[in-house]
Symmetry: C2
Subunit: 244 residues, 2 copies
């Protein structure tokens, strides 16, 4: 029995080696503040697809090729000149995005999606849809890796807290935790009774609040308000994220 138990690993930073091979695993990329929260909100608001890209110029090029498509994203947290939408999930209501293709240029979340693009199965998770994604990953029966996108290679506690919330759901099914999965669980349990207050104390939340995005931080701290599972696929020859 032990030999066939599903294993659960966490990459605490984008460059952390994992015990499991991601090409054989079901992977969730987590960037709570804010890329994967925005993707989840956009797909919940019936955007038809989100094309994550790394650079601003690449985003403009993609938006032209994929036209009609909304040009969305941020640099240093802020909507770049000429872009239709920024990286605030609150901008991604149905009136703005329903039925539309989006090109999304963000700093860390996109990098993490790129890095894990050859995963056996690739999803995007946030606190907004943590349990939905956890249950989807469990349903695959595969080993699982949760990837904390963090900031510029460094560790972001908000992503580990989200990973820990998913671990909490998953261990109910008897999955086998690695050390970093245990660590994430510990972080989640330390702050589960005040998620919003804890997220607000994270380093990157402090930056966003200074930049005027406190509402985003509060919104991104809400657990399980969106029943949506974003999965990566290929559309028109490019990596896209769509509803499962």
């Amino acid at each position: 029995m032990n030999g066939t138990r599903v294993k659960l690993d966490v990459a605490l930073t984008i460059d952390s080696a994992t015990v499991l091979s991601h090409t054989e695993s079901a992977v969730a990329v987590i960037d709570v503040l804010r890329a994967t929260s925005t993707v989840s909100k956009a797909l919940h608001s019936k955007a038809s697809s989100v094309f994550p890209v790394s650079g601003l110029e690449a985003a403009k090029e993609a938006a032209m090729t994929l036209a009609p498509a909304l040009l969305c994203g941020e640099r240093l947290g802020v909507r770049p000149e000429g872009f239709d939408l920024g990286n605030s999930p609150l901008e991604y209501g149905e009136d703005a995005v329903a039925g539309k293709k989006l090109v999304l240029a963000t700093t860390n979340g996109t990098k993490a999606l790129d890095r894990y693009s050859d995963a056996r199965l690739l999803t995007a998770a946030s606190l907004l849809n943590a349990t939905a994604v956890a249950e989807y990953l469990l349903s695959t029966g595969r080993d699982m890796i949760l990837v904390c996108a963090g900031q510029d290679g460094t560790f972001g506690a908000e992503d580990a807290i989200c990973a820990g919330m998913m671990v909490e759901r998953m261990i109910k099914e008897g999955v086998l935790m690695t050390d970093p999965a245990w660590m994430a669980l510990t972080a989640y349990r330390a702050c589960r009774h005040d998620l919003a207050g804890s997220i607000k104390k994270c380093d990157h939340a402090g930056y966003l609040i200074e930049e005027g995005f406190e509402q985003d931080v509060e919104y991104c701290s809400k657990a399980d308000i969106l029943n949506v599972v974003p999965v990566a696929t290929v559309l028109e020859g490019r990596t896209a994220v769509v509803r499962a």
Copy 2:
């Protein structure tokens, strides 16, 4: 006041980027199971110096050049053929090592010491001497980074628990924690009441126990039994670790 508060960062894995620059910081490398426990025990038993090296051949060459020197270390946890001592701290009593130079070849701890060799100040910490090293780092007045050596690039919870114990001591002095420092603190607080039991559940402890090193795991779980601070320096043209 805020601008001058000392900052405390943790590298959760050997490849994690840190917010602070290690060339400007006081750094402690942590490899609880077992390299930095062994180094601490050896120096406490009055070894004159420990020369950490990466490969077995390099260790043999160093031991010849530095002769007389004891040839010590492990591969896959076990003492290699022809070596005087393995990597079990219990082998490093005064009768074995007092007054002697040691060459120590280990897998992960040595790699971490190498990687941070250009730190402003470099020390080695374990649970055995966590508070002694924490107080030494605090006394420098510098920003601080605790480096979790882990296994082969992956995260080892025992190192984060030790880092968290040092964070607990340091925040009493009002240092400013980064996200990973908070995370380590959380891990320590989750298991402070049963350190030995918690360390035993870590992935690498499981491997060592299977290989017959349960006594080592138990010994390495003892907090603050050695009042010794190992610091890196250069002796005879090589990196060496000596008592501060």
